[in-house]
């Protein structure tokens, strides 16, 4: 028994170290980006146009705008589709071949590599539909990619509504849609939207797919229509880190990374707080 206890303690210490290490890695990533990137952050860097000749003179404003526009485009495309699919799967679908196939397709879509979405987007949206490398082609490509995440998040929100809510509504003679609209959606809508936005925030950091469908390193103006090319933070930092000759490119890549992470984490944190407050209001 004594040796068993020693063995247990040794293993448990190892497990504790492993979990600790995982957290340390995360903290290290964040702190490192902050430490190395904070130096270049100033008002000029955040709000002025990119200067191609001397990167220390310009800012990443168009890349920030491009990433935000892209996030909005992706949301418009994939959130309504994702929520409707989740409503169908959770409220309407019967256990049959059609439902099983759809569910299988969704799970597999979630596993398709982002680069494959990229070449699909290039072949289908850019060339076949002739949208060209543009904000709309990129939004559609990333929209396809985020769709499975949004469906999963929305389904979870729908599942959290107790079944008795639906039964009560049916007992009063309501139809399925009346039940869904009046008794299920009001209690799950905020959950679906916040879960979806989390999915979109992940798409904001995606780089590989947008390289092929319209992201560009340098543009002298902000995109004015969905058919314009655009600058994006992740692509911008990728080029700075790997293909730029300026001596201060590394520093500016870190600064761009910091802005990107800050955008994503602020969004996540906002949703976290919102959800916490919403959950407190629920009484079941």
């Amino acid at each position: 028994m004594v040796t068993e206890n020693i063995r247990q303690n040794t293993y448990f210490i190892l497990f504790r170290i492993a979990a600790f290490l995982s957290v340390v890695i995360l903290l290290f990533v964040l702190l490192y980006v902050i430490k190395e990137g904070i130096g270049v952050i100033n008002i000029n860097f955040l709000t002025s146009m990119w200067s191609h000749r001397d990167i220390t003179q310009g800012g990443i404003f168009p890349a920030i705008i491009g990433t935000i526009l892209l996030a909005i485009g992706v949301s418009i495309i994939s959130i309504p589709l994702g929520i409707c699919t989740a409503i169908y799967l959770n409220e309407y679908a019967k256990e049959n071949m059609f439902t099983r196939t759809i569910k299988l397709a969704i799970r597999n879509l979630a596993g398709v590599p982002s680069i494959v979405y990229g070449i699909f987007g290039m072949a289908f949206f850019v060339l076949f539909l002739n949208l060209g490398g543009s904000l709309i082609a990129a939004s559609l490509t990333l929209g396809c990619m985020t769709l499975p995440w949004i469906i999963t998040a929305s389904e979870e929100a729908l599942k959290s509504v107790p079944y008795s809510f639906r039964e009560g509504s049916y007992a009063l003679g309501a139809t399925k849609w009346e039940t869904v609209r009046k008794n299920v959606l009001p209690h799950s809508f905020s959950g679906m939207i916040t879960g979806s936005i989390l999915g979109v925030s992940r798409a904001m950091g995606e780089t590989a797919p947008i390289i092929m469908v319209g992201a560009t390193f340098f543009m002298g103006y902000l995109p004015t229509s969905p058919f314009d090319k655009f600058m994006a933070l992740p692509y911008h930092l990728f080029i700075l880190a790997t293909q730029h000759s300026s001596p201060s490119a590394g520093e500016y890549a870190m600064g761009t990374a910091l802005v990107l992470i800050a955008l994503i984490f602020i969004l996540n944190l906002g949703i976290f707080i919102l959800r916490y407050n919403l959950r407190k209001r629920k009484e079941w």
Binding site: N5, I102, P234
Partner: protein, 296 residues
Amino acid sequence: MQNPRKFREKIIERSFSSVSAISLLILISIFIFLFITGIKAFTQISLSDFFLGNVWNPTAYGEPTWGILSLIVGTLMIAIGSLIIAIPLGLASAIYLSEIARPEIREIVKPAIEMIAGVPSVVLGLIGIVFLSPLIANIFGLSNGLNALTSSIIVAIMILPTIISISEDVLTSLPKDFREASLALGATKWQMIKMTLLPAGLSGIVAAIMLGLGRAVGETMAVLMVAGNSIAMPASFFDPIRPMTANIAIEINEVVKGSLHYEALFAIGLVLFVMTFAVNLISDIIIERQVRKYKW
């Protein structure tokens, strides 16, 4: 009165079901678009040259070669290397979180680990370039640290949250009776974990690892930045490699649309798609079995 109401219900249900078919449609069209473009490459490249050829040199003057074996090896090296790092670390963290940690600690640590998943791969790639690769080069006395080892470490960090959070879900969802029965028989907590929980959750844990594997195979940006991108056949983990994903990302913007090179890149995309599809399908079947066994 009853009829228009029923009619409306029918229409609403139909519209929801057609919308949900879009996911299936996307999956099918991805496959079709990769297939019709990729398959054309094989009118001019033989299957054995493509899969078994060592040299990928599509722009060579005179006689271009189209072998993707070294690219496949690169992808497999990263997959294996990152799993070797991420499996022990991930599994140990999952056991710690579900069985050992106090609830307050779990409440903080779990979201923290899941936040790693929110760090874009391009940012991890950047850290790989400026921090990890010089470090690796220093430790092992290499001229530069952009190689298979560095990219395996970066990819391991990326797949860690997947493995931890799914394995942890699997372990916590095992019935309480298992724990109670095991402890009642006089097992220590570790014996209970080792002899009861891990075997019972095994298939779920395997599925978690498979999902991690799928992500490792498909990872592009971080790998593109730190793998070194040499097309030579790697001999060890200290050699630079170029996995399939990175190869597509590097070359796709330079090729003439519709050329043989373009088609060959789509063929590589098709190989990637089939590989990840198979991995995901297998993990799906495993999870399904686990769910049916314990109804979690």
